[in-house]
Each structure stands twice: as C-alpha cells, then as structure tokens.
Subunit: 473 residues, 2 copies
C-alpha cells in the first residue's frame, strides 16, 4: 500500500433539484431557501458560490418515484418535502454552466427508464455546452413506485438490472466514441467541408435489451464520454463500478470499515486491469461550522430544533424497503430482502439496529456523518478521516441552504488551504483532466477502448481541438 | 369570416441546435457564426438579441435521425452540415432563460422515442425554471434512420403514430394537470407543511401503448401544460393539431392556398368545440433586409454565392422520402408513397415538379418563402401576406447568423411598430398569457380539461401563485 502523502481533497457539493434532500426538516429553518429550488437564480447563485469556493463539482442526485414505504403512504413525504416534489436535474446544467468557468456537474440519471440514444445525445450535448464539465452518476433505481410510474409491472431482478446497465453503457460508449473519429469535424469554409464523411461511421448494436444501428447525431465533445460516477456496494454493483466508474461514492461508516472498503475497491479495480488511483472515492458528509467550536455547537442546536428525524426515518424506510413505523422504538429491526439500496439494507443482517438507534443518528434529519466545529477543527477532522480511510474526497450535503455552503467556504476552505490540502486555484481543462491530470478522455485501460472507432491519443484532445479551430480563421 | 383589423404580428425566431438548419450552405459565409452552435455564449447572445427585438419566442426545431436519402448516403449531409451534427434542444433552455425575462421557448420533441413520464417531468421542470415560458412542438417523426437508431425495426404506420401521439398526450395531461391540485403546495414553515397530502393524487393509465400509475414528481408549474405547438397537414395530423395545438405551423405557399388552409383549420377547430382564435397560425419565412431595397438585393446576391441549392435538395429528399439525385434536371418527379412529411410529399401528386423547379426555389439553400427589401418594404409585404391569408404570424429562419436577426430588428421591427402591427413592449405573464391574454392555463374547452384532478380557474393562476408565495412570509 502506497499512501500518497498530503493528498489534495476533492470536494463536491451534493444537492438535488428538490427541497428536502438529505438533512430533512431544515427547509423550515427561517433562513433556509431550498423552497426556491424551482427558480433559476437559486441555482446560478449556488454555482457561483461553489466556484468561489473552488469546489470541484456540483453533484446533483435524483430519484425516479416517491418514498411511499413509511406508513405505507406519502403523507409525511409531502408534508416534509422528502425529495418530493423533485425535478429533472439535467435541466439545470446549462444555466449554471453559463455563469461559471470551472465547476463540474455530476448529474444522476437512472438508465432503466431512458432510451439510450436520446440519453447519450443529451449528455453529449451537455458536454459540448459545458466545454467538458459534465459527469454522469449512473444509477439503476430501486423503487417499486418508479417501476409502476414507468410502464413496468415490477422491478427487475437486481442482477438483471446490472446486465442491462452493462449493455446500456456499452451502447453509449459506441455512440460517444465509436461513431465519429476525433478529427471528423474540420469546419473548413473554403472547401465547404464541415465534417469529413470518411470519418463518420454507423454503429451497430444487437443486444439482449437494446438494438441500434446508425450514425450518432452529436459530434465529438471535449470529454466524449462524461465523467462516470457510480455508487454500487452489492457484489454485482461493485464489480460494475470498479470496471466503469471514475469516481465512486461509498457509504460512510466507521473509518476502519471505510478503509477496508477502500482497499477492497482498489484491489478489485487493479485486478480488472485499471490503475486504482484512477478511481476516486468519495464519502458524503454534513458539516456545521462557525467562527469557534462553541458557536458551531450553538448553530447545531439551533438547526436540530428545525430538523425532522421522523422525516429522516421515512426516507430511510424507502432506502431499505422496510416500513420503520411498524417497529417499537427499541425493537431490533429484522433483516428483510427487499428492493432497496443493497449496501444499506444489508447492514441489518449483521447488526441489531432499533428505530431509536436510527433516530439518534438522524437528529439532523439525515444519515450522513456530521462534522461540527470551527474551520480549523473541521479541517483537522476531514484530513484525518481522509488519511485514515484512504478516500479521495467528500460530497458535502447542504444543511441550511445556502448558508451552510457560505459557512464552509468562509471557515473551512482557508484552513484546508493553509494545511496544503486544498487547491488555491482551479487547474485548466475538462472535469476529467482536472480530476486526473491525464487528458480529457478516458484512458486506454478503460472498457470504452474496445468501442472506439479508432485509436485515441487520449492526452492531446485539447491540442487537437485547438488545431480544429484554427481551420476556421 | 370576421377579419380582425390590424392584428398584431406574432414573431418567433426559428432555429435549431445545429449548423445548417433551413437555408443550407450559408455556414460558409465569412460572417456566419452558426458553427459556434455548440457554445453557450452563441445561444445566450441570441436570446438577448431576440428579447431586444421583442420576439415572442425562439422556436427550436429538432430531428431524430439523419438525412440519408439523397444519393443513398450522408456524404453531402456531413459536408454541408445539413442538420448533422445536431444536438439536443432542451439542453439550451435554462441558460437562455437565465439571461432573459420574456422570451418564450418552443422546443421540439419527437414523442415516439420518449418515455412519457421522463419527458413530462423534464418539460414541467423547464416550465418552473422559465417561470412559464416553455412550449412543446409535438412531432412524431418520419425518418427511417431514426427508427433504426432507436430500437424499432421500421417506422410505424402513419395513423398508428397519431394514435400513439394521442395517448402520449393524454398521459402527459394526467401528469401535468391530474396529479397535483393547483393549491397543493403551501410551503408553510410554521405548520411544517410544504405540500398538503390531501391535494396530491395518483394518476392511473392503462392504454394501448403506455401504462402508468402513481404520483407525478413535479409540483404545478406556472402553465402546467407547456404551450402546445404542432405542424400536421395530413388529415389525421390536422385533426390531432386542431384538437390539441395552440399554435400551428402551416406550409408556406401562394397566399390564396394558405388562406384556404387557414379557413379549413379554423373551421375544424370550431367544429371540435374550440375557439378558432385560440389557435395561432404561423408560416415559416426567410427575410433579407438592409437600408434600401437595392442594398437588400445586393446582400441577397452575396448570400446566394455562399448558399448550396444542392444541400437544399438533399434536405428536401429526406422530407419527401425520395432520392432527388436520381432524376434528370427537367424530369417530372413522380409521386411515391413514402415515409415523409405528408403535406410536402403530397404536392407531387397534383403538380408536375422537376429538380430544376426545386433548385430555383432553393437558390438560398432553403424552401421557405423569401422576402427581400428595405425594412419598409418587408413590413409592407409581411402585413399584406398576413392580412391576405388570415395567419397570425411568422417563424423567421436565420440566413447568415446572427447577422440576419440583427438586420431584422434594426430595419423591419421599427417599421412594423410604426404601422401599429408589432408590440412596443412585452406583455406581463407566461408565454401562454402573452399569446392569448387569457390566463396561464389552457382553457376549459381544451381536451386537457377531462384529465384535470379538479375544476381549474384558468384565469387566476397568477393570483393564486401570489397567494401561495405570501404564506412564506
């Protein structure tokens, strides 16, 4: 194990196109503005704030369906706005991209309910518009309510979902990197050649789930394939993620357990022929910070008075597929095999957990590990967590929006910078190049390679783009 | 027939997320910037320009598939960039909405290849973000190349496509207007009620093409249903359009024929129980204008020297589903029943048209009627065309971009305003209210009514929105 010393922390804001995302109930805080989620200025303001804080990206979660497991209905879901209403995340991107230069955008899309062609076209279009700042968080979904909404009688078997995901991805790779050669577009006005016909190819796909034949409509974008994010902790999900993903979210837990998971993931990536350092591992966290530790604790107490642990329990009920309202507060929740986020659900197998245990964890309405303190104190804790576990960074949830991001940028970022663990300026280039300093495109060791229509010089895509533009002069 | 005197002209810019849209070959003009279509600043610049010109909307065309009929390949399509590459139009909206206040956005989506739920969610999200400025141009597609790309072995029968469209629309109506009552969202922080559970309902749909059951994830937006645009000139398409659409594009032709079509459409709308004036009829046009008639003619000659009539012919070959390269220049093109834009194709039935005839029409690379002259001259011609035919306005294509829009705003708009035929300031409210001055929602006479979960007071939606916001104070 090589421990890279003083690794620079990757930091994404973790948000969603909705009111209550992770820390439920805080929408009732007088200063919270998350009810403005349907206004563009809320998002352009957030994007500008995050770029001021040199955040690597804004990661936008999404869910198809509603949380209807707790008490068998959606009453609390609606009252506390537990990811309902929730709007399409991809619609937010171009407005935020227009007011920023460097911020990346990780957008969650459940592939189960998408036409691969239209999806691939939408994300390639976004990669063009953001000049290479788009990422895709690949999810396959776990809610029965989603399947009922979208013309399926029930959720597919979990392993079959990953087979479909695998095929969906391979078809997208063909669209993104197998149809147009990198130098197909020359924009030559004098010769009247916008695109060289010999360099555009029809793709052919006859699979178990999808069939497609023809030319992709989108010319090569900066990154071609968006940066691929995934969270998959089941055996099948893990194998999928270590093969394809460039960044993974792993469930937060005790540092020792996270460390174990990190080592397992990196070992598996290595065994699949990938450079394990080309897989960035991120943990979701909540932070409450202020000028001093004491003021941060006061802020926490104030926030807690608005939070809703019960709303957190309702959200969690859907995550595990078990109605937690049916157990006494001190009753151990029995493990049940359900449609659920597998990694979360499986914890019930090995541990005796009661609703009381959960409510204690959910005092701020969410289940993410909570760091409370002054900027210096938070910086120390985050660096320690990162170094102990071997992860690469954090997905920072909001608590009271947008106040919590302003606080983090004001108090924590400078402390991380002073300790040499956070950038003081953005690097040049695409989201992928910023993250890996290895060019705009996926490396040759990635599964995409077999679908490329020609050998790619992955390191010089920007130079090639520069050449292309010069033909316009 | 009541002729409303001095009707104010509705004006949309007609564009597409691509290089060559209607007037092909002009991308090679030294001042043309359409090759910048994949840059956000190209679109935010355009949106600001159009709002300065008080345009009602930007109408964004789209096509799924490629034009592969001419010469049986896509060589010319690629060289002249005939709607290829072409990118997803919906990705452009939020950036343009963020830099404008009043401009509407009509976005084309082919429903044949969409999941109704995800589509309805995306457009409802856009209606929120634009504060009620979104429209949907409903198309069903006609290209075999699209069907091959998207997992269908061939195009459906034309009438069946409209049956599917009908069902798709009714399901969208349920999502948009049948799931959430208008006052469901109260955002009451003190009572901890974001949404009142009693006012949100599951929709149920068991149709021939789609099944869906559950609660829509998007709360009511300003317009709920986007403004519905359609172009349908076949008997089945016309009946669909007059029933559902709020604005229709009709094929440009001799004024006498357009007048006939206008009267037929309005009569059919009336027979379906709709107010015929609630259906706005628009014709696509190209305009070349300058300080004087002579300078406009000089500009035309200069533009023509860059245009590609052959590219226009290639585009037209796909529109009619006939490879026009196979006929001698003076050979009458025989009518063939093909997958095509029905209204265009059917003209070959009644008229003897040769490739030479078409090339003469295509001197600027496109088939839209061309108006050339000083601002005063154009204004006179447009007003005459509108009054003679009974249409409501125009979809203005670009020629040399963005120069042609700047010219139109500089020379033509003031002349139209002087004649009292063009607004001098935007009206308040949503795109729908601006167009019809009848509230934000579709009227009771529209087919959506039967899918609404409660009686809608269609005229006071803005007042209700104001009431809702006040509960936040």
């Amino acid at each position: 194990m090589t421990q890279i010393p003083d690794k620079e922390i990757i930091l994404n804001a973790f948000d969603m196109n909705c009111v209550g995302h992770i820390n439920h109930g805080l929408w009732t805080h007088p200063r919270d503005e998350s009810h403005r989620f349907n206004e563009l200025s809320y998002w352009t303001g957030l994007a500008k704030t995050l770029e001021q804080g040199l955040f690597d990206g804004l990661f936008i979660a999404d869910i198809t369906g509603v949380y209807d497991v707790y008490q068998g209905n959606i009453d609390l879901t609606l009252k506390e706005s537990i990811q309902l209403p929730s709007h399409d995340p991809s619609t937010l991107v171009s407005a935020m991209a227009a007011v920023t230069q460097n911020l990346g955008f990780g957008v969650t899309v459940n592939l189960s309910y998408e036409t691969p062609y239209q999806f691939a076209r939408r994300f390639a279009s976004l990669d063009h518009l953001t000049q290479g700042r788009i990422g895709w968080n690949i999810v396959t979904g776990y809610l029965d309510s989603a399947a009922r909404l979208i013309d399926q009688t029930g959720l597919q078997d979990h392993d079959l979902r990953y087979e479909q995901a695998e095929e969906f991805l391979s078809l997208c790779y063909k669209f993104w990197e197998g149809s147009w050669e990198h130098d197909a577009v020359i924009k030559d006005k004098s010769q009247r050649i916008f695109t060289q016909p010999s360099k555009v190819h029809a793709i052919h796909h006859q699979g178990q789930f999808y069939h497609s034949q023809g030319v992709f409509q989108v010319s090569p974008s900066v990154q071609r394939t968006p940066v691929l994010f995934q969270a998959g902790a089941s055996t099948r999900g893990l194998s999928f993620a270590t093969q394809h993903a460039e960044a993974m979210f792993i469930g937060a837990d005790q540092p020792a357990k996270v460390k174990q998971q990190v080592e397992q993931i990196r070992a598996q990536a290595r065994s699949q022929g990938r450079d394990p350092n080309q897989l960035k591992l991120l943990v979701g966290i909540s932070v409450i910070t202020a000028e001093t530790d004491e003021l941060a604790q006061q802020k926490l107490a104030e926030y807690i008075s608005y939070a809703s642990p019960e709303a957190g329990l309702a959200h969690f009920s859907s995550s595990i597929g078990i109605d937690l309202s049916q157990f006494a507060d001190d009753e151990a929740i029995p493990y049940q095999k359900t449609n659920s986020i597998a990694s979360v659900n499986q914890r019930f197998k090995s541990q005796k957990i009661t609703p009381n245990d959960l409510k204690a964890q959910l005092k701020l309405g969410g289940r993410y590990p909570l760091f409370v303190g002054s900027g210096a104190s938070i910086a120390t804790q985050l660096i320690q967590y990162l170094d102990e576990t071997g992860i690469d960074g954090f997905n920072l949830t909001r608590t009271v929006a947008p106040e919590s991001h302003h606080d983090f940028i004001r108090y924590v970022i400078p402390e991380l910078q002073q300790r040499g663990r956070y950038k003081t300026a953005y690097r040049q280039g695409s989201l992928r190049h910023k993250l890996f300093q290895n060019g705009d495109l996926l490396p040759h060791t990635h599964p995409v390679e077999q679908y490329r229509c020609q050998p790619q010089d992955t390191k010089t895509a920007s130079e090639k783009a520069a050449t292309k533009v010069s033909t316009l002069a």
